[in-house]
């Protein structure tokens, strides 16, 4: 039974009991979605059938999850432990740990390595085959976000620092950068075309940056305001919590605490589309690999008396080219 929330959108059943921290589609199909939550579970959903296929636990809130391959999920969070779970056999494997909560879990297909970032100021690499730790690398600050771009890793930390690492050669930092934005970094995601990355902050602003350090390329970078609402003539500024790229078009969606999802065309510098407002803050976004589906996690917030209480929800939306493809002039 699907609760349609739009002509091309429905809400997933059996959503977690507490806030959703991350949603990720399976790498080779839009059928499966992995969801991590503050209710300490990681769940796997069969999206078209709208059922929960599997659920496993951590001992603390789970802050991020990722697929290594279609049958293995990795996750980490407040219990400091990095777990790998075989989705076919339902077997769990405690791979390792950090010294502080694990904030990000990602996979790099080009180098075949799992990457985790933590508030203990380190990034750790893991060999998914054994599985075991393949190195610990200090960052200047707590890791808030990270993204894989080809064989490179872009790490966003507290203090507005951004570091670019070469995953094949972690002996030194390839690039030390600073966020172009004035405030705390919220999310970084790399362009599928590996040219650069998008960085969002708590200040309703997004920056598009390029990896090539040469001045001609660096000149192309820009930033824009978004996810701001005017109330009583005063602009209210919301953090932009989530970014997800459409793999084919290289356009990206952003989600903010204002409850809106916008899709942007970075080449023409236009907004392609804005969806209806979701009941509450957008915590995470994920495009499926083929770009046909967008998962939107809108997470529970307690409301004041005079306003209704929205629930957590994961909304699955079929997106069209009109919404995601850059307009050709």
């Amino acid at each position: 039974m699907k609760t349609m929330t739009g002509s091309n959108e429905f809400k997933l059943n059996q959503t977690p009991d507490d806030g959703i921290s991350s949603v990720k589609f399976s790498p080779n199909t839009s059928q499966f979605l992995l969801v991590s939550s503050w209710d300490t579970t990681v769940r796997l959903y069969d999206v078209p059938a709208n059922t929960m296929r599997l659920k496993y636990q951590h001992s603390g809130a789970v802050l991020d999850c990722a697929f290594y391959d279609p049958t293995h999920a990795w996750s980490g969070g407040l219990d400091l432990q990095l777990k790998m779970h075989d989705l076919n056999t339902d077997q769990e494997n405690l791979v390792g740990a950090h010294d502080a909560p694990i904030r990000c879990v990602e996979y790099c297909p080009e180098v075949n390595v799992m990457v985790t970032g933590s508030w203990d100021q380190t990034v750790k690499l893991w060999d998914p085959r054994t599985p075991c730790n393949a190195g610990t690398f200090s960052q200047p600050e707590k890791v808030y976000t990270l993204s894989v771009s080809g064989d490179r890793l872009i790490v966003g930390t507290a203090g507005r620092r951004v570091l670019v690492w070469d995953l094949r050669n972690m002996g030194y930092v390839q690039q030390r950068r600073e966020s172009s934005l004035k405030y705390q970094t919220r999310c970084i995601r790399a362009f599928p075309n590996k040219q650069g990355y998008v960085l969002s902050s708590i200040e309703g602003r997004v920056a598009v940056e390029y990896l090539d350090p040469s001045p001609e390329i660096q000149k192309k970078k820009y930033a824009f305001k978004c996810h701001r609402l005017k109330e009583n003539n005063i602009e209210q500024i919301y953090p932009v919590n989530a970014i997800s790229f459409h793999n084919v078009h290289n356009t990206f969606a952003t989600g903010g605490s204002d409850g809106f999802v916008n899709i942007w065309d970075p080449f023409n510098k236009k907004r392609l589309c804005q969806f209806h407002r979701y009941p509450t803050s957008i915590a995470s976004l994920a495009f499926s690999n083929d770009g046909t589906t967008l998962a939107i996690a809108s997470s529970y917030m307690y409301e004041m008396d005079d306003i209704e209480h929205p629930e957590d929800g994961i909304y699955i939306r079929q997106v069209t080219d009109a919404e995601t493809k850059p307009k050709s002039t």
Binding site: G19, I20, W38, L63, L78, D79, L80, D99, A100, W119, D120, Q121, P140, A158, G159, R160, R161, E178, S180, K182, Y183, Q184, S201, I202, E203, G204, K219, K221, Y222, A223, F224, K225, C226, R228, L229, K230, E231, N233, I234, E235, Q236, I237, Y238, P239, S257, D258, G259, W264, K270, R271, Q274, P279, T280, S281, Y300, M301, Y302, M304, D306, P310
Partner: protein
């Protein structure tokens, strides 16, 4: 509570309702100023509008719906961000962002003086916006690219704050958590006001900090080059991820739960080079600390300021604290209000037991001005170091104050509120409303 700057210019839109002081004899033109709404301006914020639109009195800004404005209609999203061109003017040249404007000015020979002024103006403007926009307050800040982060602001991400809250809830010490957050919010506000007001010494220290590019600048409070980390709040040892005890640590920038290199004590942990010195916003101006702490008229505004007025968002928390703000603004129940007032009142008393550690923990050079502030704070607060005052110890008048919707200026109790009037559950859920 400070003197109302707008009133001094003859321009305060709140008139008698204004929470700041309107000294008689300094009034200029009477009557409300012309509407400087930004209605005609799309998403943009012209500089002039910002200066007058940031004084928010919670009670007058109830938000009902958010139906409102779609910011940025279709089309160019470059609006309003390019240097001085506010408004939705369409800049043809999108390669120009505010940073490139700066780059060109730096190459001008005598541009350095202008650059400094521009920088300072930028800081002031940013502070004004930060104050009024409900933006997340626990964030570092740098006015321009390649300038180091301004000291006094530390990063705490929303997830980290939520973790603290969950931990405190699990250990039934939400009160501690609320106090900790309130203290941090106060520190933020003080630092913000300092930067907004920009007196000579703040200016000087800011400029010297900016000149020291390349190294992390020395903190602006003369705290030596110490890169102390963490909010002073973490006078309680560590470990928030385990469900430890009555103490919880509120680590901010980089002291971490048994972070690898630094070992267990937060003070030791501070040696890990933090990008930002802690938010000892109160340090440099002991008088500020005092006015915040002592249930003086400063308190109500201190308590309410950090929370975005009216809650816009009913549904949408941004800065983690709109929930609290709206509690005081809208709610008719007395308990949230009392609890709210409690924040102000408790800043001093609950601050005091930890304040020794709190301030003392700041690195070596830390501090003279700091310790005197904390000493002053500690001495002046007569209340015990309990978190709540038993009803039996409160005078009738104090009880009345706590029960009232708002404190009466001049009669704000110096003791912490009684636990009976503090409804932690309300606060807890209000807080949660902003976490996701």
């Amino acid at each position: 509570m400070g003197v109302c700057q707008f009133f001094l210019r003859g321009y305060c839109r709140f008139g008698e309702r204004c929470w700041n002081e309107h000294p008689r004899g300094a009034a200029g033109r009477p009557g409300p100023p012309p509407a400087h709404g930004t209605s005609g301006r799309g998403g943009g914020w012209g500089a002039s509008n910002q200066r007058y639109s940031n004084v928010i009195q919670p009670s007058s800004f109830r938000s009902d719906t958010w139906g409102g404005s779609r910011d940025h209609g279709r089309g160019f999203f470059g609006s309003s961000d390019f240097g001085s061109s506010g408004g939705s003017s369409r800049n043809a040249d999108f390669s120009q962002n505010r940073f490139s404007a700066l780059a060109s000015s730096q190459s001008v020979a005598d541009g350095s003086k202008d650059e400094e002024e521009r920088l300072l103006e930028c800081v002031v403007k940013d502070m004004e916006i930060w104050e009024s926009s409900g933006q997340w307050i626990f964030s570092c800040y740098s006015p321009m690219k390649e300038k180091p982060n301004v000291s006094g602001f530390s990063d705490v991400s929303p997830e980290e704050l939520r973790v603290e809250y969950y931990d405190s809830r699990a250990n039934n010490i939400v009160g501690n958590y609320i106090d900790a957050v309130q203290t941090l919010a106060v520190q933020w506000k003080n630092r913000l006001l300092q930067l907004k007001g920009l007196n000579a010494s703040t200016k000087a220290s800011l400029l010297s900090a900016f000149k020291a590019t390349g190294t992390q600048a020395a903190p602006a409070f003369g705290m030596g080059g110490q890169q102390t980390s963490g909010f002073g709040l973490s006078s309680f040892p560590v470990s928030s991820s385990s469900t430890s005890a009555s103490n919880f640590s509120f680590k901010a920038s980089s002291s971490l739960i048994s972070a690898a290199p630094s070992g267990s004590s937060p003070a030791a942990g501070s040696s890990s080079a933090a990008a930002n010195p802690p938010a000892f916003g109160t340090a440099s101006s002991p008088s500020t600390a005092q006015s915040v702490g002592f249930g003086s008229p400063a308190t109500p505004s201190a308590a309410s300021f950090s929370f975005r007025a009216a809650s816009t968002a009913g549904a949408f928390g941004t800065s983690g604290f709109s929930g609290f703000g709206s509690a005081s603004a809208g709610s008719s129940a007395s308990s949230p209000a009392a609890a709210f007032g409690a924040f102000g009142a408790t800043v001093a008393p609950s601050g005091s037991p930890s304040s020794g550690a709190l301030f003392g923990q700041g690195g070596g050079a830390a501090a003279h001005p700091v310790t005197s502030a904390s000493a002053a704070a500690a001495n002046a607060s007569p209340a015990s170091d309990k978190l709540f005052t038993p009803k039996s110890e409160l005078s009738a008048e104090e009880w009345q104050q706590f029960e009232a919707k708002e404190f009466t200026i001049g009669r704000i109790p110096l003791k912490p509120p009684p636990v009976e009037l503090l409804n932690a559950f309300d606060l807890v859920s209000l807080f949660r409303s902003n976490m996701f």
